[in-house]
């Protein structure tokens, strides 16, 4: 490594605040967005495994598929679907935030986290009432 003469700061040292240089992931928005991204990612993955299996029942028989899909149409599962869609919407918007941090500018990562939360609220307001009406009026 090229040694800088004593007393001269490298560009890395100049720009670093108290957090170690080069990480957004320690503390506050940067960390919590990562925690949520990870948890939602895992949850969606396990749902996807089950969801492909239940959909594969269309190849078994209409009766088998209809019997299993009816389980998704109960009030309890209706609430589960709200949680699932909430997880996917967060993961999707925060995923776009990660992409913008990597390819555009990390400076705005905090603002973008609040934009993600705002878009999440708007999307859920559009989805949840309509979905719950479908679930509870049938």
């Amino acid at each position: 490594m090229p040694q800088s003469p004593a007393g001269t700061l490298t560009s890395q040292q100049k720009t670093s605040s108290r957090r170690p240089a080069g990480t957004l992931y320690r503390g506050r928005e940067g960390m919590w967005s990562w925690v949520l991204h990870r948890i939602t990612g895992v949850a969606i993955f396990f749902f996807l495994l089950v969801h492909i299996l239940d959909t594969a029942l269309v190849r078994v028989s209409p009766e088998a598929y209809n019997a299993v899909i009816a389980q998704y149409q109960t009030p309890l599962m209706g609430l589960g679907e709200v949680a699932l869609v909430g997880a996917i919407v967060f993961h999707a918007f925060n995923g776009l935030r990660i992409i913008l941090i990597d390819f555009w500018n990390a400076k705005y990562q905090k603002v973008m986290f609040y934009v993600v939360l705002g878009l999440w609220v708007v999307t859920m307001l559009a989805f949840v009432p309509r979905h719950l009406i479908n679930v509870f009026s049938h």
Binding site: F45, L48, V58, P62, Y65, N66
Partner: protein
Amino acid sequence: MATTLEAPRSPYTRSTRKNGVNWEKWGWLYMRVSGVLLVVLIFGHLFVNLMVGEGVSALNFAFVSGKLADPFWQVWDVAMLWLALIHGGNGMRTLVNDYATAPLTRGILKSAILAAVVVLIVLGTLVVFTFDPCPAGANLADLNPQFCSAL
């Protein structure tokens, strides 16, 4: 003192293998490219299945027949299947790398992820392309009248 310490924050020493493919880099890029595509595919999927009409309460075999008989939705669903499973499987691999320390555990977990991804991609792709909207012997009431009126 024969060992030399690398200066902090210097790049990892790469293995001496020349012209090796940097798989981690391509995996990193794949997560981002597939992510953008998945936003479109999954939001469209959720909108059509949960928001249009009566949403979740309208889902049944007849509804799925209507979609899977259409090449547009076949391509949509298969693209979503491959992209999401590989994205999710690669993401799960990252978690195993982060949290599982014993080599044997890591090997078992990563093999399980790979097996699940491969089996489900094969199963899902076969289902989409071999789907029969009017299976013989089925109860007529369960079928989509648009496709199976001749029965």
